[in-house]
């Protein structure tokens, strides 16, 4: 279901955030941007609604690899009735976490690309969320001689990078379908 009413979606998300700040007593401020103004200038996120959080409790959001930030994103996406494959349209950020993580992933991609070229062998990344896998896939778009795919199920799904034209039969992990 596409987001056909940004204002209603933003209001639903604001109501959700208020439950965290009022009964939940988390000291957070938020700014919600919806529509074209929410677009990621770096093009790494496919977001249409961008929620920036700040305040004394913002560090809680980015602990443990951004676990709480992801939990809020997930619940917010469900509240505005996005289908699973559309969850990337909602993005929560705090202390520039997304941009910093994107930079880390880009570095990891560069290191892996160098290794795949040197060895001619596939490289498996650690399991990560669908958003982070997407960032990795995008990072590899810059390499014409390499391809990526996602493998594994659920929480253990991870990205594999391999030389273009690599014989998939050789991939012992059994790739569970390409992405992009």
């Amino acid at each position: 279901m596409p987001i056909d009413d940004y204002s209603a979606a933003a209001q639903s998300i604001a109501a959700f955030l208020k439950t965290l700040t009022a009964p939940g007593r988390l000291r957070l401020k938020y700014r919600i941007t919806a529509g074209s103004g929410a677009a990621d200038p770096d093009g790494l996120e496919a977001r249409e609604i961008y929620v920036e959080l700040a305040g004394p409790d913002a560090p809680l959001l980015t602990q443990r690899g951004g676990e709480l930030l992801r939990a809020l994103e997930h619940v917010a996406a469900k509240i505005i009735r996005l289908d699973q494959e559309e969850h990337d349209k909602v993005s929560f950020d705090a202390n520039n976490f997304k941009a910093l993580r994107a930079r880390e992933l880009k570095l990891a991609a560069d290191t892996a690309a160098e290794k795949v070229r040197r060895t001619g062998q596939p490289y498996s990344f650690a399991p990560m969320s669908s958003r982070e896998r997407r960032m990795l896939h995008l990072a590899f778009r810059g390499y014409d001689d390499l391809e990526t795919a996602s493998s594994g199920e659920g929480l253990r799904r991870f990205v594999v990078a391999y030389p273009k034209g690599y014989d998939h039969e050789k991939l012992s992990t059994g790739l569970a379908g390409h992405r992009r």
């Binding site: 007593r25 988390l26 809680l60 709480l68 619940v75």
Partner: protein, 94 residues
């Protein structure tokens, strides 16, 4: 724990989030059950909405528990979330 830290706030938090997630917000009930060291929040929703609060591979329930975990820290008291499924609800009604 001061009076304003009593489970009412947490009950309200879970109730509000659950109401936003389901199709039948009027059927959402959250009970607080005090244990020695923690409070169990028992969430009941309409049978057709159980899947919505649990989510694919339990992700929505896990996300709500993560949120509750963070808020628990703020309140210096442990709150856990139980989602009662249809058979448990029926059993309880008997």
């Amino acid at each position: 724990m001061s009076s304003q830290d009593k489970p009412d706030n947490m009950q309200e938090l879970v109730t509000e989030i659950a109401r936003a997630l389901v199709d039948e917000p009027g059927a959402v009930i959250v009970e607080a059950v005090e244990r020695d060291e923690s409070t169990v929040l028992r969430l009941r929703v309409a049978p057709a909405d159980v899947g919505k609060v649990i989510g694919k591979q339990g992700r929505t329930a896990r996300s709500m528990r993560t949120i509750l975990g963070a808020v628990s820290m703020k309140h210096h008291h442990r709150y856990t979330l139980d989602i009662l499924e249809e058979n448990q609800q029926a059993a309880k009604a008997e």
